[in-house]
């Protein structure tokens, strides 16, 4: 009888322990994330990554950023969604949207410390002159592509905020939708097929200016040349080639209320190289990189990536 009582007691403890293994204070434990779930490591002692907080947006390699109220219907793995109604940021893990706290890494930004980036009423806002404030949208991903229609003015507000190290990818678009103010440093490269032997450039923050100037030195075959341009309504980037085959590596600096560029790329035609510099006023109310142009006419770039360095 005593043996039976002891056996029943042990069995009861085992059942209780088993229950405790699945629930704690009423919360269920699981290998996969869900609301109010305690994470459990898998058989290789690895906790599912969706349980882990993202301290940096750079953990994800590439993400398309949707800025809208409705849940994106055609999201792909690791796409980002900023809900403009709730000011919440999510990424798609392949099946569900995982919420991310974006408010921490923005406070680590030099612009935040300079008082030019702020969180106001739950929104992330930026200002170059600390007078005109614009909402910008945090994004996940080492490389970010903003989903927006450049031809629809209702999409003009869709400007991504990139932390240092994040890259904006522009594919077949005109606008470089990355928040940019004084001070900032950027590096990038591009390829486009718009032919023309004169200046490829950028309207800073999509504003035409009047003091843009550029200078180039080049080598075509064994023949060297040089030239300049001034009083332009854009900031020159590259004196490019007359062929539908243009590429360059470039930097953009926004300092001292100027946007400046330094570039090396394809020039004139054939085996030609041009090295260029450009400069122009960055508008006091400007808040993003801008729109690309050829000789002051807006054009799309086929493939361009630009990374915020500082």
């Amino acid at each position: 009888m005593e043996f039976l009582r002891k056996t029943m007691s042990t069995l009861s403890d085992t059942v209780k322990n088993a229950e405790n293994a699945y629930k704690l204070n009423g919360f269920r434990a699981s290998l996969t994330p869900a609301p109010n779930v305690i994470p459990v490591a898998n058989d290789q002692s690895i906790i599912h990554q969706d349980f882990l907080p993202l301290f940096t947006p750079l953990s994800i390699p590439y993400s398309q950023l949707y800025i809208q109220a409705a849940t994106p219907s055609s999201a792909r793995l690791y796409d980002s969604w900023y809900n403009i109604d709730t000011n919440e940021l999510f990424y798609f893990n392949g099946s569900v949207w995982i919420k991310v706290d974006w408010t921490k890494w923005v406070q680590n930004d030099i612009w935040y410390r300079l008082g030019k980036l702020r969180i106001s009423n739950g929104q992330l806002q930026i200002s170059n002159d600390t007078t005109n404030w614009y909402q910008v949208f945090p994004a996940l991903g080492r490389t970010v592509e903003v989903i927006a229609d450049d031809t629809n003015s209702a999409d003009n507000f869709k400007i991504a905020y990139l932390t240092v190290g994040q890259t904006l990818l522009v594919r077949g678009k005109n606008l470089a939708r990355a928040a940019a103010i004084v001070p900032s440093l950027w590096v990038g490269n591009y390829y486009h097929t718009y032919a023309g032997e004169y200046w490829f450039g950028i309207f800073p923050s999509n504003v035409a200016i009047s003091d843009g100037y550029g200078s180039w030195v080049g080598l075509s075959g064994s023949s060297a040349g040089a030239g300049y341009t001034s009083s332009r309504n854009f900031v020159p980037i590259q004196e490019q080639a007359s062929e539908a085959h243009n590429w360059a590596k470039f930097s953009i600096q926004i300092m001292n209320n100027k946007m400046t560029t330094a570039t090396t790329g394809h020039g004139t035609s054939g085996a030609s190289i041009d090295s260029c510099i450009g400069s122009g006023t960055f508008p006091s109310a400007g808040y993003f990189l801008g729109s690309f142009c050829y000789e002051g006419t807006k054009i799309n770039v086929d493939y361009l990536a630009i990374t915020r360095q500082g």
Binding site: Y134, S153, N156, F157, F203, S205, N206, V207, A208, I209, S210, D211, S220, S222, S223, A224, G225, A226, G227, Y228, T229, N233, T281, P283, S284, A285, G286, Y287, G296, T297
Partner: protein, 139 residues
């Protein structure tokens, strides 16, 4: 396109995004950002003469750069002759002039063409006439 223009620190700014423009920006309907000018007292459309003069300046700069790149290809000839002259080597100067006769004649042709092009640009009376001038030496 509809644009918004304003002046800040004596400089003209124009954008097609109303959110970027200050409240007192002036609205214009234009084809290109290039059509506006700040003349020191007001923002207005450029006159035909102003557009013409601007394009002439641009074309002349383009010509100057182009001619410089053409001449640069045979600059070595001039350097060799100049060196012989500095050394008072008259025989060498004569020999070099003979050896590089074709290059020297081409340089002369480039300079003559340059003068003709300058005149054509300066005498142009319309934007169409000016834009039809192609800067390409075929000598």
């Amino acid at each position: 396109m509809k644009v918004y223009a304003w002046v800040e620190n004596g400089q003209l700014f124009t954008t097609d995004d109303k959110n970027l423009a200050p409240f007192d920006a002036i609205e214009f309907e234009i084809e290109s950002f290039d059509e506006l000018i700040w003349d020191g007292t007001q923002i207005r459309l450029k006159t035909h003469d102003e557009k013409l003069q601007e394009l002439k300046t641009q074309k002349l700069l383009e010509l100057k750069t182009y001619v410089a790149s053409l001449l640069a290809q045979t600059d070595y000839v001039i350097t060799k002759i100049a060196e012989a002259q500095i050394l008072n080597d008259t025989a060498e100067v004569v020999a070099l002039k003979q050896k590089y006769l074709a290059q020297l004649q081409q340089r002369k042709a480039i300079r003559q063409w340059n003068e003709q092009m300058k005149q054509a640009i300066q005498n142009a009376q319309s934007l169409n006439e000016l834009m039809s001038i192609i800067i390409e030496f075929k000598g």
